[in-house]
């Protein structure tokens, strides 16, 4: 039971981070390979505030998320003005720089040996409620006017601009929103593990999240969430298989990308209306899926 609760808590924390990646990559088409750095900022800032300055837990989380948003603004200001492929390069560099910085600031962060002694405050219930709230918030964002504008500019930036959409502003808002979600997951992570070290926040983690989003379906929030759920739980559940679990993980990802390039769910969203439609007229849904794949 303790093991299951442990796995689930970590999965929920990852879900929050991946939902942040979905907001960025799924809605606006920007790739961040330094997203994990924002998780690190959330984890370290909240942890340090509580341990070294005695700030209350909730306040520490708020300060950490706001601090991450501030840093997100600084890095986002040039980033959202770049072409998409450069965005991943800049964020990659930023992410590695943050990891290096955490390694070097030994007196404050403990350096490579990690930062310990963070009180354990995150519970399974808290992680679960946070994950559900974050997913609901993003679902609402996706169907809002801003979400539509994000998807529009992902489809065609020039046309979106010609329509009068303020592309830079929308991208910036979305970037900071995504940073806030990821930083929040970092806070929960620090107060669950009670120990953080810089090696866990490198580009590999950011890339993992991008894989999860694509695995489930980059155009579908429910797909991304399901993808994140499966892929983050899998290595934990298969712990008994030692390193073979990573082979299984890789094979699974390759199979999906090969046979269903739009991800598990494609553009389909798990809403009550769509589920009903699936059972009433299965055929038409399938057909529209095929055509989406081509477009």
């Amino acid at each position: 039971m303790a093991l299951i609760s442990n796995i689930l808590t970590q999965v929920f924390i990852t879900l929050i981070a991946v939902t942040g990646v979905y907001v960025l990559t799924g809605l606006t088409g920007m790739f961040s390979l330094g997203q994990a750095a924002f998780m690190a900022i959330g984890a370290y800032v909240s942890g340090l505030l509580v341990v070294k300055a005695g700030v209350p837990f909730v306040l520490a989380i708020i300060i950490a998320v706001v601090a991450a948003m501030g840093i997100g603004y600084l890095i986002g200001y040039p980033v959202v003005r770049l072409r998409r492929d450069y965005i991943s390069l800049v964020t990659l560099g930023f992410g590695e720089a943050i990891a290096a910085l955490l390694n070097r600031m030994t007196s404050l962060t403990g350096g490579a040996s990690g930062f310990t002694g963070i009180p354990r405050k995150t519970t399974l219930i808290m992680a679960a409620i946070s994950a559900i709230a974050v997913i609901a918030l993003v679902a609402f964002f996706k169907t809002s006017k801003y979400g539509r504008q994000c998807i529009a500019l992902r489809g065609d930036e020039l046309a979106a601009k010609a329509m009068g959409i303020n592309v830079t502003k929308i991208k910036m808002t979305t970037f900071i929103f995504s940073v806030a979600l990821t930083a929040y997951s970092g806070c929960l992570y620090a107060f669950y593990m009670s120990y953080v070290d810089p090696s866990g926040f490198g580009w590999k983690k950011s890339a993992d999240w991008v894989i999860m989003v694509f695995f489930g379906g980059v155009n579908s929030l429910s797909g991304s969430v399901i993808g994140a759920f499966i892929l983050s739980a899998l290595p934990q559940v298969l712990r008994g298989l030692a390193n073979y679990r990573y082979v299984i993980y890789a094979v699974l990802v390759l199979l999906i990308i090969n046979f269903k390039p739009t991800g598990l769910l494609g553009e389909w969203e798990l809403t009550p209306k769509n589920i009903k439609q699936l059972f009433t007229k299965k055929k038409s849904v399938k057909n529209s899926h095929k055509e989406e794949g081509e477009g």
Binding site: K145, R148, Q149, I151, A152, R154, G155, D156, L158, A159, A160, K161, A162, M163, G164, I165, N166, N219, E267, S288, E291, E292, E294, G295
Partner: protein, 235 residues
Amino acid sequence: MGVMLKVNDLSVNYGHVKALKHANIEVESGKIVSIIGANGAGKSTMLRAISGLVKPATGNVEFMGSALPAKPSKIVAKGVVHVPEGRKTFSGLTIRDNLLVGGYLYKGKQLEENLEKQYKLFPILEERKNQFAGTLSGGEQQMLAVSRGLMSNPKIILLDEPSMGLAPIIVNQIYDLIRQIRDSGITVLLVEQNARKALGICDYAYVLENGIISLQGTGDELLRSDSVRKAYLGG
């Protein structure tokens, strides 16, 4: 009817390439004005400069007596909307959502009214409103792009090559539509390579050649002009 849109001494450079050189045009309100010219003559650049997608090197654009703002988002709010070439619909959104993006300046009842108006003008879009835009045919996507532009309730609509890559019968439908748009009181600035079509429909036209306005006149005048016939209508 007065002059609605006035382009004064407009030049645009892309690096060293001078795409548009000191061009002047006037668009009277309630009319269809065409700009024709060969590939690379600067037609699309003219529209992009008007809608704020590129910054002009010299000159300015006057709209209803005052200078247009520089940002595309503010230009649309003034009532100038640009439908770029190549049927750029938002493939990740449904048709209804595409239209809603176009009408982002409005909300609630006004937005619904605009939507109803577009569905009346383009019944095919209502039929398929919940399909993704990528599933439409070329002609339907062009109609969606135009309709999406109209969702912002423009005073003038800038159409860039609406006939590009479409079958002749579909081109005729699109042109009927352009007439309908004008008749509903919206001014049209039309850019086309299809010179015969564009001159046939317009009230006034300009010929762009290597970034310079080389000729202007009513559609009939230009259709009869020798140089236009040689260069654009095949003799």
